[in-house]
Amino acid sequence: MNHLYYPGCSLKSTGRAYEESLLAVCATLGVGLTELQDWNCCGATSYMAIDEVKAFALAARNLALAEEQGKVGPGTPTVDLVAPCAACYLVLAKAQHCLEENKEVGGKITAALAAAQLQYTGRVVMRHPLDLFTNALGLDAIKAQVTKPLTGLKVACYYGCQIVRPYATFDDQYHPMTMDHLVTALGGTPVDWPLKTRCCGGSLTGTVQEVGLRMSYHLLKEARKRGADVLLTACPLCQFNLECYQDPMKALFPDHEPLPVLYFTQLMGLALGLERARLGLQRLFVPFRQPVGV
């Protein structure tokens, strides 16, 4: 299986561990990822809030590059583009939808692409790694490669807000389960907890910190209350926000107990028997020390 890979800015910076673990896991599972050449900003965050057309045009350039580099076009099979960052994934999927259904905005984007000698013909399938692993590759294939099953490990699967929004269609929007099924396949025990898709507070932590921290605090507290040893994320902003601010959180909410927050790919790597350093586990602020596969 060969796929194009769109890292986005996070996976090259704060989310380095996500890229490291994703690439290591894919290599082990025989999933080929080829980084998209000359990719640019996906258009999420500030762009999207200020000028939707420009944001979509940015996203569309990446889609056009994917078609070019994936050597697909009208009448050919499609190419998968894997976007691990939940925000990138959503904005790229949304741009596809917009190009297809919104004549006015779609026309502007097509014109913008044409000005750069590019075109997009609808032959890219956006995939989040959760979709890739659970639907394209299949849990049985992953299960077969588990060497250190996560026996006894209680995991709170946290999906965040982006991959359950409209246009993200690979999981149930109210009650996502792909990560839970993946954890089960790895031998772990997903805990049943109600805050899987509740906002992590990410965009507030930078602006109204107290509110952002309170939101993160509630998430972590509830995960702990339900017996979780670790919380898994599928988004670099969620991971950063939930993990790196646990000290100021403790200052604000003294009853806070630290909880490791990992990318789901890091835990996958451990179950597949990969070395901790290949999975970026050394980068954690709240270390994950629990032995796995014993």
Binding site: Q173, Y174, H175, D192, W193, P194, L195
Partner: protein, 665 residues
């Protein structure tokens, strides 16, 4: 038919209908009229606001008499809508009704075309086709076939009960088939009915016992229709009576066998009580079950599963009604009409996991709460939580599985009202604080809005907003141990957390899971959601596309009891109109063989699904029995020599129609 009529030069009249503005707004009527005047054999072309009205029909009748027209074309709506109307008008003016042809310029043109010039051209093409075709039309007579007088009613809920009783009172022999061991349907489970709060059992059970005792009704319970053959007026129906292991005619419903069963307590899910209680393998579905006859469930009975039971039940029965050797039985019926009243199923609340049904014990469906508030229910009418305590705060979530793109888009029509009823009953019985979370309050019915108003005054709380979730995630001490309903209150613009002890999910109405199989059995259609499709949403709401088969009640779409009963009455009227007439007129579109052209090749014989064609050895040709031919024309299409033809659809007529529609783009 007279020779002069056939040999006479065709004289065609074309009538273009405006249909108010339905056609006229999108089709240039004057241009169609002018065009029609250029077509061969056309003597007169007129247009009129509503051709189907009396003055419209008189227009063509007058022309038949005064201008000697012998062919009529009306360009208006679909032939499925008004072909019969215009045929009758033609006949009434002394012309054979099959000298009429229709062009569908409403459903197929004005309602589906954006551009007026293109719609006009399409209309012209269809008129051209109709004129070319009508010239070749021949005078025909309807075939008259006798109708069997008996009627089958499928489904023993309130719709089927009402239909069966009304037919029986009119003197018809009725067979009522019900899948469950008792008739009564959903209504038998309710305690009160909205908005009058009259007791459901008090109005239903007398009708149930009338069904049981009526000399004209044969009741087949625990039975399913498994085969339907024939056609309007002449159906042969096969019904499978499932083995009850109890002889209906011997059982008196004394329940001695139930008492005697080796299981001292009920162990198996009592479906009548929505699983809120347990029953034994031998059981009476509920005290007022009709027929008042027990049955044995083969899935749980030790004797039927292993053959190693003491069979105390059989010993206890003084009438020897219990018979473990009983097997399913097929009953054949001959009926003239069929009324389908198979009802609905409620939405499976586990399909919306965020409402926690099946996960949190104190989340109930509305149907479960109907049983809880019912005096003959598992708690004797006490509203209790699973631990037996009384709820102090109750939240009722509306539109569960209704008005939701992810589950069902339709409004289930009854949930607002039954939610209000349950709110009233719960409040009355427990004094609990009750919250209704609704999207829109839909109370269009006699006395319905007044009932809503009464609830507002009773102090029931109403929050306008779709509930987001039911969670056990608590953040304040007062929420501890409770279920929290999260919802946006759209009237005050805040997101609220409402801690409650009990959640009631007002589940919507859905078509039965096997609606598609049932529809195939009766050769009728379903909407996408699985509701049985009426022939016309307004003018034929209880008829189907299969003549002689009618629908009533919630199998056609969600509806409340008054509407269901009214519709059952309507279906009865249609069935009576059919069987009391004593005969049906079949469309004379049968196939026939021109002997001179038939080479006796047998091709057509294998084509016919109705065995209507036989080979005449002496003559060396095929022969079609018009009484058996249903008019599909498959043999005609297969005939290599053109010897097989179909009345109303001859090859030449269709070729002319093809040329006609291709005249213009």
């Amino acid at each position: 038919m007279s020779e002069t009529m056939q040999s006479a030069e065709p004289r065609v009249g074309v009538y273009v209908c405006h249909c108010g503005i339905n056609i006229a707004a999108k089709v240039d009527i004057a241009a169609v009229v002018e065009f029609a005047k250029t077509l061969p054999y056309v003597i007169v072309v007129r247009d009129y606001k509503f051709m189907c009205s009396d003055p419209g029909q008189e227009l063509l009748q007058q022309d038949i008499k005064e201008l000697g027209l012998n062919r009529i074309v009306v360009a208006s709506c679909s032939p499925l809508m008004h072909e019969a109307t215009f045929r009758h008008a033609t006949e009434a003016a002394g012309l054979n009704q099959f000298y009429f042809q229709m062009a569908n310029i409403r459903e197929h043109v004005s309602w589906v075309t954006a551009d007026k010039a293109l719609a006009t051209r399409k209309s012209q093409a269809l008129v051209s086709a109709a004129v070319r075709r009508v010239v070749l039309n021949e005078p025909l007579e309807h075939q008259k076939v006798p109708v069997k007088p008996n009627v089958l009613v499928v489904g023993g809920g309130i719709a089927g009960i009402h239909a069966a009783l009304t037919l029986a009172n009119a003197g018809k022999q009725v067979t009522l088939v019900e899948r469950e061991p008792t008739i009564g349907g959903h209504m038998a489970k309710f305690d009160k009915t909205f908005p009058t709060l009259d007791c459901a059992a008090c109005i239903l059970t007398p009708k149930m016992s009338m069904v049981r005792s009526h000399p004209n009704i044969t009741m087949l319970t625990y039975a399913e229709v498994v085969g339907v053959e024939g056609y309007v007026g002449n159906f042969t129906v096969k019904v499978k009576k499932k083995a009850r292991y109890v002889h209906e005619e011997l059982c008196v419903g004394c329940n001695e066998c139930v008492e005697a069963c080796v299981y001292k307590e009920g162990r198996f899910t009592d479906t009548f009580n929505e699983g809120l209680s347990k029953r034994k393998p031998v059981y009476m579905p509920f005290p007022q079950a009709t027929p008042s006859v027990v049955l044995i469930d083969p899935e749980s009975c030790i004797e039927l599963k292993t053959g190693k039971c003491k069979k105390q039940c059989a010993t206890a029965c003084t009438r020897n009604a219990i018979d473990f050797t009983m097997t399913d039985e097929i009953v054949a019926l001959e009926v003239g009409a069929i009324i389908i009243a198979t009802g609905f199923q409620t939405f499976d609340a586990t399909r919306i996991p965020q409402y926690g049904y099946g996960k949190f014990p104190n989340v109930y469906t509305s149907l479960e709460v109907e049983r809880l508030v019912n005096a003959s229910g598992p708690t004797g009418g006490e509203v209790q939580l699973r631990d037996g305590s009384t709820p102090k705060r109750v939240g009722i979530i509306h539109c569960v599985g209704s008005r939701d793109e992810k589950t069902n888009r339709h409004c289930s029509r009854v949930c607002c009202m039954y939610s209000l009823k349950l709110a009233h009953l719960i409040h009355e019985r427990t004094d609990a604080e009750v919250y209704n979370l609704y999207i829109d309050m839909r109370t269009p019915g006699k006395g319905y809005e007044e009932f809503y108003d009464k609830l507002l005054k009773e102090g029931v709380n109403f929050i306008r907003g779709r509930a987001a979730e039911v969670t056990d995630w608590t953040v304040t001490p007062e929420e501890e141990g409770k279920l929290v309903i999260r919802a946006e209150d759209t009237l005050i613009g805040v997101v609220r957390r409402i801690p409650v002890d009990m959640v009631v999910l007002s589940v919507g109405l859905e078509a039965h899971a096997d609606a598609d199989e049932v529809r195939r059995l009766f050769n009728i259609s379903c909407s996408k959601e699985g509701w049985f499709l009426e022939r016309h949403p307004k003018l034929a709401p209880v008829s189907t596309f299969t003549d002689g088969i009618f629908i009533a009640g919630a199998c056609q779409g969600p509806k409340d009891i008054p509407d269901t009963v009214a519709q059952a009455g309507a279906a009865v009227a249609e069935a009576l109109a059919l069987v009391d007439r004593g005969f049906v007129e079949l469309e004379p579109n049968t196939a026939f063989i021109t002997k001179e052209l038939c080479s006796g090749c047998h091709t057509c014989i294998a084509m016919c699904p109705f065995s209507a064609i036989r080979y005449n050895k002496e003559a060396g040709v095929a022969e079609i029995n018009p009484a058996l031919c249903k008019g599909c024309g498959t043999c005609v299409a297969a005939c290599p020599s053109g010897a097989a033809q179909q009345h109303l659809f001859t090859d030449e007529q269709i070729f002319q129609e093809i040329e006609g529609v291709l005249n213009y783009v």
